[in-house]
């Protein structure tokens, strides 16, 4: 089954929503309304491309903390995200137990991840194994930063998937930094995709600032996986356009001209220009979208601000599955 043409406007709308919501989180942080934010700005294109290349509702996801755009594409609502930012009741990933951006969304086959990086990678291999054992042609997408591929966990997971030819896509969102540590202090290869060669599976490099390129690469990897040909490592070259998180200040380690150069290649702006040039999008349409997104976000923020915190005693449960029923 050949990949259908990329749904350009959908991709754009999701990138826009993710960007504005992310920017709003930074504002909430400056206003002292939230304690922490970790940003996906600069990585949206790779994420939405990946999401639209997969079959939502059927495929499985083991994401990482920068995947706001991915999550929105999979159906997380802006309200749910803001509830998470504020640690409010009704936050769907953890009932406000986890920090913001620690995703989980059962209804969308998004498994829960934790803060220790790379732990999600073996889970993805295990989901792939389960799909293999139970039959069907679902695939698993797991994402990670380039720095976190230094963990043995990632290596073991990819090795499992390669050895057992499991239907897993290992998407590495390479933004060159792991907090302050540049890629060249992480690894001796120039491209993370080269790591695939050592594990016996294909490694693909894609321009992660281009949603369509990501859509194509993930779509092809998914087709391979569905045909039983095994996993793929995809390295999306993305940009971390903010400090690591709201706790970070990148001026001590990041050259300012690098930051400026990066901003000149903002994936959202590039995509907008392209859609305008290709006449997929009109200025008027865009203005409408911008308004719509703004409205959605302000409504979400207002509703989240009004929402209650979870009761303190909720913290006692559910340690065991038995408590879920009890709680």
């Amino acid at each position: 089954m050949p990949l259908p043409p990329p749904p350009l406007l959908d991709l754009y709308r999701l990138m826009l929503l993710a960007r504005r919501l992310d920017e709003r989180a930074w504002v909430l942080h400056r206003q002292g309304k939230i304690a922490f934010h970790i940003s996906g700005i600069g990585q949206e294109a790779a994420q939405v491309g990946a999401a639209f290349a997969l079959q939502r509702g059927k495929d499985w996801f083991a994401p990482y903390y920068r995947d706001l755009a991915l999550m929105l594409a999979l159906g997380l609502t802006p309200l749910e995200f803001v509830l998470g930012l504020m640690g409010k009741q009704g936050e769907p990933s953890s009932g406000a137990r986890q920090m913001p951006s620690h995703w989980s969304l059962r209804r969308a086959n998004v498994v829960s991840h934790s803060s220790p990086v790379a732990t999600q990678a073996p889970h993805a291999a295990g989901l792939g194994l389960a799909i293999r054992l139970r039959g069907g042609d679902a695939v698993v997408l797991t994402t990670i930063g380039e720095g976190s591929t230094s963990q043995g966990e990632w290596y073991e997971a990819v090795n499992w998937a390669a050895t057992h030819k499991l239907p897993v896509i290992f998407l590495v969102e390479n933004n060159v930094y792991a907090i302050s540590v540049r890629q060249n202090q992480q690894m001796a290869v120039e491209h993370v995709a080269e790591k695939a060669a050592g594990l016996g599976l294909p490694g693909v490099i894609v321009d992660g600032l281009d949603a369509v390129a990501s859509y194509r690469a993930v779509g092809e990897a998914a087709e391979r996986a569905r045909r039983g040909e095994g996993p793929t490592v995809i390295e999306a070259k993305v940009a971390r356009m903010t400090p690591h998180s709201s706790d970070d200040d990148d001026r001590s380690y990041r050259p300012r001209d690098e930051v400026e150069a990066m901003k000149a290649r903002d994936p959202l702006a590039l995509f907008r220009q392209r859609l305008l040039a290709e006449k997929v999008l009109s200025e008027a349409q865009d203005a409408g979208l911008q308004e719509e997104v703004k409205g959605v976000i302000e409504a979400a923020v207002a509703e989240a601000e009004a929402a209650p915190y979870p009761p303190a005693e909720d913290a006692a449960y559910p340690v065991y599955v038995e408590d879920v029923r009890r709680g």
Binding site: G95, S112, T119, A125, G126, L127, L129, V319, V321
Partner: protein
């Protein structure tokens, strides 16, 4: 009823659960054609095939991590760690992931996973094939920790563990694999619930708490001291987490004295928690100090026989500790 060995009880449990529920599968090093280095899975590969009995790469982290992923999907993996001593590469996956998944997802995701691992010393295995390390896991909310002491419980508890919706660390006293024999009902569906301790010998003078291989020795020691007129009550804890506080407290309320026996290192071992429990909640019932007989605080069991014997608690050492406490 037929008399079988402890390891045969484990094998039967896995065989029956594989047959009962096609979501159950086994994964670990050498569990396939080799049947495991202790032969716990012998014959299961031939019977259920390579999809249900999977020889993994030599990598414990991913044995558990892949198991967690499969459990999230809804399967029921049984992960075998070849020796408990080799579980540490998987520590992060067990403690950060399996144990915390239910809580951190507010119950949306659960990890019905069993991790089987042979543990314990006295088998000439030296520092890294002899360890007891239950105390690392009994400190982790979200895990259940189970240690059977006989073929009946080995079978019934393992079957219950496979059906338990939570991650279960299932530690097997490997010295007893073939040494400990016992009656197990044939046929039927033997389940021993996870949770309750077992009163294995009633007695009025003092309570002795143990599990696994040490429980076996405690029963022998109780027999010896009985001949001297000391009536030791023996409790097989079986499930270490959650703790069966009621059983522990009610025994000590009766006897007024408590001895805890384990192979694991003394400091910070499981016995500390039992002693702490008693010194808090049975304070007025205690007629004597709570005693622990445990592996000494050296890194692990040495290889050379005299040194191994020095390390290991055994029937004689237990009998001596009972006598001393009874005389207090």
């Amino acid at each position: 009823m037929g008399e079988i060995t402890l390891i045969e009880g484990l094998r039967q449990a896995m065989d029956e659960e594989l047959a009962r529920d096609d979501r159950v599968f086994i994964v670990g090093e050498d569990v396939g054609p080799r049947g495991g280095v202790f032969r716990a899975t012998l014959g299961l590969f031939d019977k259920y095939g390579p999809q249900r009995v999977i020889d993994s790469p030599l990598a414990e982290l991913s044995i558990v991590g892949v198991g967690i992923g499969a459990a999230l999907y809804g399967l029921r993996p049984i992960c075998e760690i070849q020796f408990a001593d080799f579980i540490h590469p998987a520590f992060n996956q067990i403690v950060s992931e399996a144990a915390k998944m239910c809580y951190r997802s507010n119950g949306e995701w659960t990890v019905p996973l069993v991790i089987r691992a042979p543990y314990g010393g006295g088998i000439g295995g030296g520092l890294y094939h002899s360890q007891s390390l239950e105390a690392f896991f009994t400190h982790v909310p979200g895990l259940k920790v189970v240690i059977p002491s006989n073929p009946h419980d080995a079978k019934g508890l393992l079957k219950a563990a496979v059906r338990d919706p939570n991650p279960v660390i299932f530690l097997e006293p490997k010295k007893g694999y073939r040494l400990i024999r016992g009656e197990v009902p044939e046929g039927g569906d033997l389940l021993v619930p996870i949770g309750p301790a077992q009163l294995s010998r009633p007695g009025a003078d003092l309570s002795v708490f143990a599990y696994g291989m040490m429980h076996h020795y405690v029963l022998q020691a109780a027999e010896i001291v009985a001949a001297e007129g000391i009536q030791a009550e023996v409790i097989d804890l079986r499930t270490l987490l959650p703790i069966d506080k009621a059983a522990i407290l009610s025994s000590v309320r009766k006897t007024g004295k408590a001895l805890i026996v384990h192979e694991d290192n003394r400091t910070g071992g499981y016995g500390a928690e039992i002693a702490a429990l008693l010194s808090d909640e049975a304070f007025t019932d205690l007629d004597a100090p709570v005693r622990r007989l445990a592996g000494p605080d050296v890194p692990a069991v040495p290889f050379s026989h005299p040194m191994q014997d020095w390390f290991m608690p055994n029937t004689e050492k237990i009998a001596a500790a009972i006598r001393e406490l009874a005389a207090y």
